[in-house]
Structures are given as structure tokens and as C-alpha cells.
Symmetry: C2
Subunit: 463 residues, 2 copies
């Protein structure tokens, strides 16, 4: 009697067929008649259930017939081929026993529930088909990202979560404090005296690990971060969460083209990995969540991504006959409607848009020779719009200092960032991929709350 | 002329020997005479430097001779075998040009610096030998952990960082807030009115993802977390950081023995992976940081870990002639001196100590039949003491509720955790591995500040 998982039975069927096996798992469905019954068992290791047949020969036949949905059970029996049935095999039980009962009010009964309802039971929803698929894909995609970078000898850097600086030069941040809120110490100028706080200064949750990753790229050449980042934005939309994970590679001796090559390779790699390693889950999404999913993903994997400049993008948009909600002219930030028009209607594949006006981009992006644009790039994909944003970084100390002065930024606060240019600086580039956006893109799920195990959004930090 | 990395040259030497190559990198050392000179170049991809020879035939020979330490350069030349020299090959340069200058006050000159000093230049220290080795090992160890669990079909779960609950039932936590500290809203009872805060409640940084991981183990069977965790402890020691990363696997249909098997397999896997994939770095640690390192690690990999109960451990300690600072008797929490005695003096290999008194362990640990001890385990290793802590979890709803009542815990706050027992609970277990402790153990580094890229400790959140 070998103890096996349902995944092993599905993936190495020949090995177990006609043999005695033992599985443990949870009852997904159970139906019985007077003489026999069927249990669909899921043991968490595999998307699909395995069918268990039990009959009146079992001494506890009557009890089994009454086992509740979601009870945990141990099943022993022979793995029988069932060539004429829908499923390829079933376990003909010689023993079925319950090891964990389940109350009658178990919320995940057979009927379909709305995603909204399932969010209120985030501790149970991974037991449903949709969320079992989402969170296995999330796990595999995370691993694919590590695998991709490690195979290329990138160094994974854990950049700090608690930070005294604001990487984007803007962005609403969460404060981290240990001060007694009912007894806030003030200094001579009647300001909050953060010297009394845990870190002796005002600290926040990071919005990006990029600046620290740059320091490491200038030591290891190729590095990446993959960790949680935070935004205290009061945006109650389907695409915003207060806590999300981000991947930020940073590469030295590399320019914007190298950066785009890397982003393109990475996107294709992740999609291929998930398609290969989560076949059943991806088929579920393609059938029940987003019917165009496979077409869209295959299009990404098989196409060479287009590369156009922002100026070209504006020309295309201006010439188009499309009516946009936000009017188009050089200098504007592209809106999702513009991005989707370019990638869906014009090129029908992923598009890198490069060289944006410097005024709508961050201080660290490398100024182009035209003095008007910076070496930035956004990757736009059909169905979503922007999914990756990156740039070549300003490596010229004098140019960077000038830009920071223009923006009124404190050189003192960024002393170490500036020193990276002072001591053997070199051209380098990087980008950020919002992990949840990538998962939404690969699964067709429409709300960011449904791709994060326990989402944190305005007004909500349950579980 | 092929553009290659120093790693490629060292790892695939045959492919490049006697060929023209181009490398980019940073100058680590440079010495020159009137007619020729040598540059040790490091490009970040490999622990070792490559030697570049340049001579007066190069038109910019005199300038090259004056290139400063840490300047970034591009070198072209032939990769020459040097069978009679210390290094196996060198690049005979046909061209050397500087792409990034470095100021004369570059802090990492040839002389050795103390680790304390290097902490003050955390943005530059990964360019030194020691920290280049530490942070590559950290990256490889992180990957080894993912690889280990993914190969075993574990699902990686991103448990929340911002949380409304306290997983350990204790532990000092950092508050996360968006309230205006100079204008804290109060409610009718004169308490801080967190309903006005971003999440509508009091929130903190997580101390553990275990409780949420349990929810996922009861859906996917085998899961793991790997993310940052936080402690607001005012401990200014070499082993405490306010922000550190933790790995927490959680396995269903599994008991304490399965849990120990998993921990043992994992530890051996990580060490083997790092020894194989960071040979040069590990040799550096063994030679310059901790001379007993290889012996210790080989001992871990090759031994079967001992397993004794807490009660047996106390007996051993009581019978020993060792003078301990903390007196030994049944009921005490083992101190590092006790742990090290057991693993270093008695067994001389890693030891699992199991079945601790319930009063010194967490509420969620499974009560043993003796009603006095719980199914907990700590893994003790020579040189460190405790490195892993875990337990079988209490799956019996009534026993868990009883224990929470004893401890005065709010059942209401843990409603979802209790529901995991109500709806198809099953025996399950898990453990936590502090990632930094594991890195310290594998490298011989003695201070946690030296294995975190930008450490956060009491009074310090620089960079």
C-alpha cells in the first residue's frame, strides 16, 4: 500500500494503475445510492479531483454516505482504469475513513459563488477551483521569475522594506512608527520628534527597491529584487492594492535596448513556464474566466515586440480617428485608452514605447541628447496596457545633480545614490514589473483582490 | 570580438582561450611600470578578478597607468594562457578605455577595512571580497530554498506584510499608519480612533505568516512562505534585526516527524546547493572568516540529525558537569548555552529537541497526551544553537479553544483560524527558518548586520 498524492497519480499514472494506493484529501462532492457511492476527492496537490468509488461491502458504508463536504478523509483502494468513463481512472475503495469532520454550514457548497463573496472568506477560497488555479499560477510564476534571473547569473537582492527615503521622489507612503500615538513627542520647533522613534528618524514602507538595487548592480553587474512594495493611495479600483509585490532587475554596462531585450525575454519565459507547468489551471482560465486568454498569451510568446518612440506613438494617436476621452498631444502622459489602442488596434502585439518627455518621468531617468526626452520605456500589452516600466538610469553625476536641483530634491538625502556615479559609475538600466498585474494578465482575472492571498486595500486589512 | 563576462571566461575557459574578447568591469587594483602594467578587473559576475596586461604599444598607455581604483573600463584583447603564473590566464589588452571615472577619495582602497566601517558604506561594500561573497551566497541560498520546495510541488504563498493580527500572540510590533501624528483622532472613549486610519483599523507589520500559511496548507496540502518579517525589539545584539526574512513551510496530513524530516532535508539541500554553486565564495569564508566552516557544514550534510525530547535534554543537562549561567530544571526555556552544549559537546551534530512544556510555547502547538507538553521541535546546530523552530499545529477545535481561553486570547479575532479546524481540519505541521541566521551559519559571518544588504536595527535605518 503506497501513500501517494493525487498529482502523482495523474502525472505518473502507469506507475500506480491496478495497484493498491492510499490518498488523503478533502471531499469536494459526494453522491451515493443504496448500494454504492462516488466521492470527488481533492488533496491540494493537483487541480483536478480524483474519483473514489465505495460500495456496501465496506462496513462503514452508511456513515461514508453521510460524510459532509470538505471533511478530510483517508482512502485506501485499487487504482482502476475506467476507459469508458469521463475520467481515466478511479480508486475502488477498500477503506474510507474520516479524519477531520466539517460543519454543515461550510460556505463552499456546490453552487457557484461570486468572487466578491469569496473575498470575505479568503481563508477558504483557495479550496475553490478558481482560486486554487490562481494561487498555484502565482506560485509558479514567482518561481519562473527566480529561475529566469538565476539561470542568467543575476544576484537576488533583498532591498529594505522599511526605509527613510522615498525612491520615486513622490508617492504616498505608509508611516512605520513605534511612537505612542496618544503621546507624540514634539521637538523645539513643535514638529514630531522622530529622534525618539525606534529608528531615530521618520520611516516609511518602501515604494520601490530600485535605488538600492542600483547600488548592487554597480557591484554585481546584474541583479534583481522581488519583494513587497506599498502605496498609501486612496484608490479603490480593481487595479490598485496598498500592498503588492514587484520585480525590479537592474543591469550594468547596459542601455535601454538591453533593458527591453531583458524585459521581452522575461515576459516570454514566465508565460512559457506557466503554460507548461500549470496546464490544467490555464485551461480552466481559458475556458471559464477569459476565453481569449490562450490566443493572447500565444501572441505574446510568438511575436517580436514592437518598439516605437513616444513621439511616434503620439503621431499615431493624433492621426487615428478614434475618439479618446483624454485629448492627445505631445507632452501628455499616455492613458490606458491610448496604450490599449496602440497595442490592440495598431500593432496587435506587445509594444515598447520609449523616450518619453522628461517632465512626466522620474528624476533618475537618463536625459537624451534632445534635452527634452529621457531614455524611458513602457511595455504595453493587449488587454491591459502598461505592464512594465523602466529606463536607462542617469549615470552622469553633473546631469543628475542638475536634474535634482530642478526638482528641488535634497542632494544630502541622496548622498549615497550620487556616490554611485562618483565612484566608477557606468551606464545601467532597469525596469519594474508589478507581479499582480502580471498574474492578472496571465490568468484573465479582473480584480487585483483576486490574485493576492489576503489583499490589503483602502479600508480593508482582514485576516 | 566576443563580449563576455568574467564568469564565462572562468567557467568556460576552453571556449575563449586564445580568442579575442571584450570585457567590461571595475578596476580593483592597478600597477604599472614604464613599459607595461597589470589591472585586476572585476565585473561583478564572478568572485575572482581577471588579470589584464597592457603595454606601451597602446596609444593611451600613460593614461591607463593612471586610471583610478574602481573606475569602470572596457577591455579588448586576447585571452592568453599563462601556465607558469598563479592565475591560469590573462587578457593581453589591445585596447583599454575608461567609461566611468572614480574620485580619488574612493573609500575601498587596497587596505583592509573593518566590517563596522563597511556598514557605513553599505552602498559600496558589496564591491569588497567579503560582501561580494556574502551577498552572492545569500542570493543562491534564497534560490535553493525556492528550488527545494518547488521541486516538491509546494505552493509559494505571499502572506500579508501589513496585518491586523499578531500571529505569535505576543511580540513587539511596528505600527503602520497614515494618521497625522500631530492630529491623532480620538473616539468617545478617548482612545485612538483607528477607524479614521487607512485600513479603518489598527495595523502592524507582520511577525510571522504562519497562521495564513496554515489556511493555504489546508487547501494545497504543502505550502511555504518566504518574505520579510519584523520585530520592534529593543535588542542591540549581533543576532537581532528589526527586519529580516523568514521561510515558513506548512504541511497538511503531516505530523511532527514529517516536519523534522522536511527541515532536515531542506537544511542539507540548501548547504549542498551553496557549496556547489558558490565554490569560490565558500572557500573564501573557510579561509578568511571561519576556519572550521567546511568541517561544520560537511558534518551537517553527512550526519543523520539526532532527535531527543526536551525531557531527555533536561536530563542530559542536569547530569552534565558543565557550569551553566542559567540553572537547569524541567520547565525552563533552553538558553543558547544549553543548546550549544547539547549539539556541540554531547551529540556533535544537529539535534532536534521535541515536546517542550506547553507553558513556554505558543498557543497553536498541538497538546500531547501527557497534557504537559506540546508537539514542538527546535533544531539545534553546532556553532549557533537554535536555527529552526516548528511544531505540529493543534487541529482539534475544542482543545485549541480551551487553550486560547486559558491564555485570554480573543476567539473573535481568530475566527477564521478557528474555522480551519471547523471545516475539514486535519493534522498539519510547519516550521520557521530565519533566513539571516541560516546565512550566518553558512558563511561564518558573526553579525546579522553583515548578511543583510541594508540592515534595519534599533536606531538605524540608513540608505
Amino acid at each position: 500500500m503506497e501513500r501517494v498524492t493525487v498529482r502523482e497519480i495523474f502525472r505518473e499514472t502507469e506507475k500506480y494503475l491496478n495497484k493498491e494506493v492510499q490518498i488523503e484529501g478533502w471531499i469536494r462532492t459526494l453522491r451515493s445510492s443504496k448500494k454504492f457511492g462516488f466521492i470527488e476527492v481533492n488533496d491540494g496537490t493537483f487541480f483536478k479531483n480524483i474519483q473514489v468509488v465505495f460500495d456496501e461491502k465496506l462496513e462503514n458504508f452508511k456513515e461514508i454516505s453521510k460524510f459532509p463536504i470538505s471533511a478530510s478523509i483517508v482512502v485506501q483502494g485499487k487504482l482502476d482504469p475506467t476507459p469508458e468513463a469521463k475520467q481515466p481512472f478511479e480508486i475502488k475503495a477498500t477503506s474510507v475513513s474520516m479524519i477531520g469532520d466539517s460543519a454543515k454550514d461550510y460556505p463552499l457548497q456546490k453552487k457557484r459563488h461570486s468572487f466578491e463573496y469569496l473575498r470575505t472568506i479568503a481563508h477558504l477560497r483557495p479550496r475553490s477551483n478558481a482560486f486554487s488555479a490562481v494561487f498555484r499560477v502565482r506560485s509558479l510564476a514567482a518561481y519562473a521569475i527566480h529561475k529566469f534571473f538565476q539561470e542568467r547569473n543575476f544576484v537576488y537582492v533583498h532591498t529594505p522594506i522599511i526605509t527613510g527615503s522615498d525612491a520615486e521622489g513622490a508617492g504616498e507612503m505608509f508611516r512605520v512608527t513605534n511612537l505612542d500615538l496618544k503621546n507624540i513627542p514634539l521637538d523645539d520647533e513643535n514638529k514630531v520628534d522622530f529622534s525618539k522613534d525606534f529608528f531615530g528618524k521618520d520611516t516609511n514602507l518602501t515604494v520601490s527597491g530600485q535605488l538600492e538595487a542600483e547600488a548592487y548592480a554597480l557591484a554585481f553587474r546584474n541583479v534583481y529584487t522581488f519583494g513587497p512594495t506599498f502605496r498609501a493611495e486612496n484608490s479603490n479600483t480593481a487595479r490598485h492594492a496598498a500592498e503588492f509585490w514587484m520585480i525590479e532587475p537592474e543591469i550594468a554596462f547596459a542601455d535601454l535596448n538591453d533593458d527591453m531585450d531583458l524585459a521581452e525575454d522575461m515576459m516570454k519565459y514566465i508565460i512559457n513556464y506557466v503554460m507548461e507547468n500549470a496546464k490544467e489551471e490555464m485551461e480552466f482560465f481559458n475556458s471559464f474566466v477569459d476565453k481569449g486568454l490562450f490566443d493572447r498569451l500565444e501572441n505574446v510568446v510568438n511575436s517580436e515586440f514592437e518598439r516605437i518612440t513616444y513621439t511616434e506613438a503620439i503621431e499615431i494617436l493624433e492621426k487615428s480617428k478614434e475618439k479618446f476621452q483624454y485629448p492627445v498631444k505631445w507632452g501628455i502622459d499616455l492613458q490606458t485608452e491610448h496604450e490599449r489602442y496602440i497595442t490592440e488596434k495598431v500593432f496587435k502585439k506587445p509594444v515598447f514605447v520609449t523616450d518619453y518627455p522628461k517632465d512626466i518621468k522620474a528624476f533618475y531617468m537618463r536625459l537624451n541628447d534632445d534635452n527634452k526626452t529621457v531614455a524611458a520605456m513602457d511595455l504595453l500589452v493587449p488587454g491591459v496596457g502598461e505592464i512594465v516600466g523602466g529606463s536607462q538610469r542617469e549615470e552622469r553625476l553633473d546631469v543628475l545633480e542638475e536634474r535634482m536641483k530642478e526638482l528641488g530634491m535634497s542632494e544630502k538625502e541622496y548622498w549615497w545614490y550620487l556616490e554611485l556615479r562618483k565612484y566608477g559609475g557606468t551606464k545601467h538600466a532597469g525596469f519594474g514589473l508589478g507581479f499582480e498585474r502580471a498574474i492578472m494578465y496571465m490568468t484573465g482575472m479582473k480584480n487585483i483582490r483576486d490574485v493576492i492571498p489576503f489583499p490589503r486595500t483602502v479600508g480593508s486589512a482582514e485576516f
